[in-house]
Subunit: 136 residues, 6 copies
């Protein structure tokens, strides 16, 4: 159950059509997933969201594409964002993630959840050796 209704014919709005066309062109296929249909209720929100997702996730950069999706999915798991978990897990697979790598990814995310809770419980003081400023 969603809090908004996606517009019936979103592409009658030329700003929405421009974003949808760019999504299709960037991805090289015709599938526009639900997220963008729902965001189309407000063209400005749609435009800024797509601009930033495209700018960061859809072109060559300093980190490889699969690693970027894994970072994204890891945060989404910690935040319990089900939609983001599904889309970025699927994207990581599309960018080459094997089942073995996925099992290892889940193990690391889980280990982080475990030590995060352990350390938040104990509140261990941070070693001065990890102070980046003083190491430079």
């Amino acid at each position: 159950m969603s809090t908004i209704s996606p517009p019936q014919n979103p592409e009658v709005n030329p700003r929405v059509k421009a974003v949808f066309d760019d999504i299709r062109a960037t991805r090289g296929n015709d599938f526009v997933n639900n997220l963008w249909h729902y965001l189309a209720f407000d063209a400005g929100l749609l435009e800024t969201t797509w601009r930033d997702v495209k700018g960061l996730m859809a072109k060559p950069s300093h980190l490889d594409p699969m690693t970027k999706e894994l970072i994204y999915a890891a945060v989404s798991i910690a935040n319990s964002c089900e939609y983001c978990i599904h889309t970025h897990t699927a994207a990581a697979r599309a960018k080459g993630m094997t089942d073995k790598q996925y099992a290892e990814f889940l193990s690391i995310v889980s280990l982080a959840g475990r030590t995060n809770h352990l350390l938040n419980g104990i509140k261990v003081p941070i070693d001065p050796e990890f102070d980046h400023e003083n190491k430079d």
Copy 2:
């Protein structure tokens, strides 16, 4: 301020000494960071924590070492675990992360935080295309 006091001479306990020795051997240096000193208040907790961190993070596997640290750090940021953020950011640097890659990592973590909140707010229904079971 921590909820426990680390034991004064932890290595008089042979189980603690065995873990500390293995930490030093695995990492190839003498530095044993605070986490392990604090966990030494309970040898069992120290042993199982080190066993799992070592097993997953310290040996060759299906994901490269820097990617593993970035996944770990990403979860730690979403969970606000300050100690884990510092140690795993430092570990990512030690495994080759450049400043450009760190800025990109932070951008992706932040973008995920943003879209996680956006999608948790709207509760967009998940597209059937992301259903892994039905795609197989």
Copy 3:
């Protein structure tokens, strides 16, 4: 799927009936939403929850009614509480929120999610200028 079953005829319990009657009177209609039906499994929990929600959200106070619902919904999004997101988004609409305001609300919640993650990642020290005690 819920962890408890709502009582079949909750209003045979006079304490439950008194709360349900007050919900109807306060809101000026007959709709008692699921939350209260489920909480009716324990009259004490029902009474204290309604007392505090009514006391804070249902009468004139220092913040305007729509702002109060937006604050409530913002926390609920960050906590991934789907039921609360739906009820308080609906309440904000009932208190005058337009689609333009909702899109802006979502943008701010998302921006906060983004900078929260960015700053939790970097752990920027807090400027002394923000120390309320020293400014007085």
Copy 4:
């Protein structure tokens, strides 16, 4: 660094004094911890917070006192609330928690953090056997 300054002489306000006196009487000692000094900036917020903490945590009930503190501390760890972690860990100790029990508590909280992340990552469907309604 706090967002508010605690009032200098809070007990000149008779409503604040009444709460502080009740805190001392309930606990049987003269120590009023920082939380209450800071909340004293608004007598109403102080009164309702103390009323509810006292009502739930300070008298005999259906769960034993140490278990109640452990539940409280567990949530506080997952929410990264440092002040609450310190006060409720201290309270659990005061109510009998041994070091062995504390190590086990931390292990369970950490295991929960780990499986929470694992299951939020996979999104395993809930077994119908756990549906309370259909079992009754």
Copy 5:
């Protein structure tokens, strides 16, 4: 909707069969819940997860069985892990939790959620009295 498909005949893999057999033997019944069926996509992940859950939750220890389930459920609620909430609430009931105790458990979890947010909002400094190190 899950991100993975559980293997059709998981017990043809002898490592999976060994874990499933141990789950049945440990619990004294034939029910193997969904979690283990899904984790069976990777035998290693299945083995380490079961090893740690069994080691901590399924045998006599320093905390009583119901208290352990309540701690686990409390963390799962704070982390919005729906599957874990259902399984550990059910387990707490199986280990003796009454409706009155469940209502009290929910009240404490909720009170913690409330004061966690209150104190994270104000950032009250931690009293030196709660510093375990300086008290010893």
Copy 6:
């Protein structure tokens, strides 16, 4: 302790200087808070962060300025982002928030934290009445 060192003379980089100048001009004073000094380690990250914060928070829009800061602060509290809590609580004060309003804001954030945990614990099904799509 931060994970990065802010550049010593950030404004020798013309892209950084342009952002700092715009921050000063937009706010009408010379104070550039720590966040921007730290982000200056990467000009691109600095530019996109400032662009979006300015675009959303610094000009007239559909929600009033104080409400916008309260929404931002509410999310930051739920996410335990200490830096954001301090800056946006200060900004809300600068935009007119009184102590009475702040106490009410904290009460609503806390009430939301409480009912979020209560409802995440029970998993109450969402009433069809809150389904926006079917109401239109």
